[in-house]
Structures are given as C-alpha cells and as structure tokens.
C-alpha cells in the first residue's frame, strides 16, 4: 500500500481510538459508552492489520484479527451483560463533571505529547509519530477510572488503559513478541471475566449496586 494511504489510514485509526476514549468521558449513557469501546476495539484491530499489511507480516494480521474478536466483540458483550442486570443504567453524577472532564482530557493529551517526545524522537516513522495518541488514551482511561463511581465505568477505565497501551505497543514496535501480545490480550479478557464474576457476586449479595455504596473499607 502506498505511503500516503498508509499514513492517512493509520492516522485516522489512531485518532479514532483517542476519540472513542474522549467519548466515554462525554456520554453519560452506559450503553453509548460500551458502543464507543467496541468501536475503539475495531479501530485498534485495524491499526494492527494495516501495519501488518504494510510490512507484509502475517503474524501481525492474525494478532489484529484476535484483537478484533476479543476487544470489539467479546469484551463489549460481557460488559453489556453486566449493564443489563443493572436497571439504573445511566451514569450517576461523576466526581468531576463532564465539561471539566473533557477539558482535563485535552490537558492530558498535551501531557502525553510532552512526555513521549523522547520516544517519538527515537522512532521517527509514520507509526512512531502516533504513539502520543496511545499514551493519551491511557491517561484518559486512568482519569475515567479515578473519577467515576459506577462499577461498569471503572471497568471501562481499565479497558481504555489497556487499549491505549496496546496501541502504543502496536505502533512502537510493530507488535511485541507474540507470546507477550497473547499474554496481554489474555490479561484483558481475564480481567473482564473476573470483573464480571465479581460484579455478579456483588449484585447477588447487594442488589443493584453503585460503587459509592461500597465504602465500608476506608480510613
């Protein structure tokens, strides 16, 4: 594929990943947030596949398909199951309100750019220049994790962090060794399964829960 098509496709997909991260801070409905997550998984898989096609590396394309299956299909499905059991599926008042969160997301993006200057200097390729977008997605996920109350939103935060890290991994090194990549994807899947199991336990014991109610343990 030609250099400019490759550059624009990669740029679009990386930007889509960051956009989906911002959308999870923007929208309040959990259903919309999960849809954004699915689209982000799709964009991430496309990044892997595009890089694989460009470098004629079939392993990377396979990894992209795996990522597609895991992050764009299975994980959102698991989360929707958790959400469906929860009747109050709108976000309660987050700790930081939406406009402030969005401005914080913008600030975090700039922070990501500042922090990864040395990395982009080391990898001056088309893919390397997009690394800050991955780190920004990770920081936005971290922010979402810290400022959200509902359990599902915290799961979403973890997934954003994971997706951001995976994006950086794909862009920086055209995929880490297959074993580690499998480990990473497995990690996401396991984490979500564990979280789903926990959520089910919690719900069976407490009824529909808001993490705000889980404040027995504190100092």
């Amino acid at each position: 594929m030609s250099a400019s098509t490759y550059a624009s496709a990669l740029g679009l997909e990386a930007a889509a990943v960051l956009l989906c991260a911002v959308v999870t801070l923007w929208r309040r409905s959990l259903g919309a947030i999960v849809r954004a997550l699915a689209i982000q998984g799709l964009a991430l898989a496309c990044v892997a596949m595009v890089i694989g096609l460009h470098q004629r590396d079939p392993g990377l394309v396979v990894v992209g398909l795996l990522v597609l299956a895991a992050k764009a299909a299975v994980v959102p499905m698991l989360i929707t199951r958790v959400v469906r059991g929860d009747p109050g599926s709108r976000e309660t008042q987050p700790l930081v309100n939406v406009p402030a969160s969005l401005v914080a997301a913008g600030a975090l993006t700039f922070l990501a750019f500042a922090a990864t200057r040395s990395v982009t200097a080391l990898v001056p390729t088309t893919a390397g220049r997009l690394i800050p977008l991955g780190l920004a997605c990770m920081l936005v996920g971290f922010f979402a994790l810290v400022t959200r109350r509902k359990a599902v939103s915290q799961i979403v935060g973890i997934l954003l962090v994971d997706n951001g890290v995976a994006l950086v991994a794909f862009l920086a090194t055209a995929g880490v060794p297959l074993l580690v990549e499998l480990g990473a994807s497995l990690d996401v899947l396991l984490a979500v399964i564990v979280l789903r199991v926990l959520a089910t336990h919690l719900r069976s014991r407490l009824g529909p829960f808001d993490l705000d109610q889980l404040t027995e343990l504190h100092d």
Binding site: A115, T116, R117, S118, V119, A121, L122, V123, L135, M138, F142, L145, A151, Q154, I155, G157, I158, V161, D162, V165, V168, A169, A172, T173, V176, P177, L179, V180, G183, A184, D187, L190, A191, V194, L195, L198, H201, L202, R205, L206, L211, L214, E216, L217, D219
Partner: protein, 484 residues
Amino acid sequence: MLVALLALPVACGLVCGGAPWRRGLGWLGTAAASGVLVTAAVLAVDVVRTGPVTGLGGFLRADALSAFMVVVIGVIAVLATWQGVRYLDAEVAAGRSSRRHASLYLVLVQAFLATMLLAVLAANLGVLWVAVEATTVVTTFLVGHRRTRSSLEASWKYIVICSVGIALAFLGTVLVYLATLHVGGHGPHPLDWTSLVAQSHRLDPGVMRLAFALVVLGYGTKVGLVPMHSWLPDAHSQAPAPVSALMSGVLLTVAFYGILRFKVIADGALGPAFPRTLLVVVGLLSLLVAASLLLTQRDYKRMLAYHSVEHMGLIALGAAAGSPLAIAAVLLHVLGHGLAKGVLFLASGEILLTEGTSEIERVPALLSRRPVLGGIFGFGLVALLGLPPFSLFVSELNMLRAEFQVGLGWAAAASLVCMVVIFAAVMSHGRHLLLGPRGTQGPLTTPALVAVPLVGGLVGCAFIGVSAWPLQPLLHAAAHVVAP
C-alpha cells in the same frame, strides 16, 4: 531442576482440583510447599557454587537473586499452607464454605505459588510480566474467598487498581523492547534480561527514563508503594489469613524483584542518579503515608497491612542506595519481613478465628487469656519493629548504614523519624491488644499444631538475625547480581 520447582505446585493443584475438601488434601499442599523449599535450597547451593542455572531451553533462568527469592517463597509457603489446613477446617466446620469451595482455595493457592515461582525464574521480561499478571488474577479470587460483602469489595478494589498497575508495567516493558530494537536486538529473545543488561549502556536514555518511571509505578502498584497503595490495606485485611501471609510476605517482594531487575538495566542506561531519586521519593512517601495512617488504626489486620507499606518503603529506600551492602541488606530484610509478617498474619488469623472480630478494641489482654498465641503475636510485633535479636534489626541497620555511605543520609534520617512514629503507634496498639487483666475465664490453650509453625518461623527469624551463616554466600552473590 527448575522445571521440577514449577511442576510441584502445579501437580499438587491438579490433584486437589479433582476432589472435594479433605484434611489430607490440605496436608498434600503443605507437602508440595515443603518440596519447593527443599528444591530451592538445593538450587541455591548449586547456583552459589556454579553460577546461574537455566532451564526449559533458556526460558527459565535462576541466578543468585532468583534462587534467594525462591527460598523465601518456599519458606513462607510452608508456613502458609500449614495454617491453611486449619483455616479451611474451621471454615467448612462452621458452614461458611462448602467442600468444593475449600478445594478451590487449595487449587488457587497452588496456582498462586506456581505463578510466583514463574515470575522469579523467568529469564525474559515479558514472561515476568505475564507471571505477575497471572498472580493478580489468581489472588483476586483468593482475596474474595470468604464471599462476604467487605471481602468482595476488597477484591474489586484490588483487581481494578492492580490491573491499571499491570498495564503501566506492560507499557514500560514495551518501551524497553522499543529501546532494544533500536540498538539492533532482534534476536529470538529480545527481552532476555542478560542480553538487555549487556546492552544497557547503549539504550536511549530518554526512553529508558520513561520506561523505568512506568515500571516503578506499575510494578510498584503490586508492591504497595504510594501512590498506588490503596488496595493493600483492604485486600490484606479481608483475605483469609494464610493468603494475607503469602501476599504480604511474598507477593509484594516478588513485584519488587521485578523492579530490581529493571533497575539493573536502568542503572546501565541512565546511571544511578535517576533510578535512585525515583525510588527515594516513592520510598519516603510510602513511609510517610504508612506512619500517618498507622496512628489511627482500629483493626489489627489493617494495621499489619499498613506496616507492610512501611517495610516496602524501607526496601525501596535500600534499593535506592544501590551498593552491594544495601542490596544484601534489602534481601535479608525481604526474608525477615516475610517470616515475621507471615507469622503475624497467621497468628492474627488464629485470633480472628477464636475471637470472631478483628477490631483491636474488642480483643484485649491476649497475653493473659491466651498465653501462647499472645506470646507469638507479641514477639512477632517485636520482630517487625526491628528490635534485636530478630533479623529485621540487622537488615534495617545495614540499610541505614549503606544509605549514609552513599550520600542519602537525609533520606535515612527521614525514614528513621517515620520509623519512630510507627514504633510508637504499633506499640500502643500492641499494648492494648496484649496487656490487661485476664477477666473471669481461665487461660485458653492454642493447639500445638497451630503454634509450632509460628514459633518455628519466629525462631528462624531470630536465628538469621544472630548469624546469617547459611545464607551469607547466597546474599553476597545475589547482591552482586543487582549491584555489580
């Protein structure tokens, strides 16, 4: 031999998984742990004599540092699995858990041991990461084993925070991989630790700085260093006592082992200044937070958990100093802390079992009501506070000495102040717990089967404190792995 080390707990886990709980299965777990300890001792002797051992075609590697960690894991595993039998017996007898659930516990503990062993024996940073990730997943279920509301909340918090930490550590590993690729490390195992150390002076400093910071934050989450420590008190206080002992005594230090491995590479790439500053900051913060929060604890298990944060802070400070004396002291501290904290958590589990509450206010006068248990708890606290003849005294002293030698005197002084505050806090809590009039009941006895391993652990800790004789060459060799 390395494969045998891993195979033991895996095999035991598979056996236990098949059957519902029986006493015998529990003892089988202890036997597996003892097997691990014996193999670890053999491995340590071998490594000290002939140098690093590899296994599974270069996949596993044991140098002196790994061998020492395996010994630590073995020792505390024996203690924890021994007590585990009693814990599960009580749970099944009280009807709080079914037999199936109890054997699930056994399987999970063995899996936990296997993943920790894999983490310290990994030759490859990627495998290290996968193993630490696996420990997170396994321990989540263990923390929530009791299925009460607060333990479920604790395990939720645990997995949420540790998943983020693991992701950060993954990013750090990816960045290190990126740096090696740039200097041409395209071999079959680009993340192999020995080759990374060999090339470390050629790695790009900017990238390595970011990578090391991410690794300290990421693996530091699992170590319990501030600012990612908030899962620790909840998880360690809500988990069953043997699991708390394992997690507090071993898992924290296995995660710190990961940081140490990265530190060697970072020292080569960046020089000692940056890693030292980072570890000093994190260590001092942990000490400060632990000191301030220990003053107001009302729950003895939480108190012990915060104490772990303090010790991890001390270990971070010692590692920051970086000289061979400092690292040897850190490793000795790891073993001593593991023993003492393990004994204390197991004793507290016994107290919880018999008293039914974990609040300090409601468990007074242990020494007069339950002399043996109170004595063990008291001596354990003494050990943990760093008083002679226990080994923590020696290790803390040497860490402070090394810090002064290296020029971190101000940090050492600050840590001393924090330790004094912690001493006062723990003493006051301990006084309330242990001393006081007996009341109308006569003294209750503790079964020997419970007391023996705990006493044995304390004696071992004292023995090492007086003379590190059997461990000295191992400590030397391990220190020189990290600080050549």
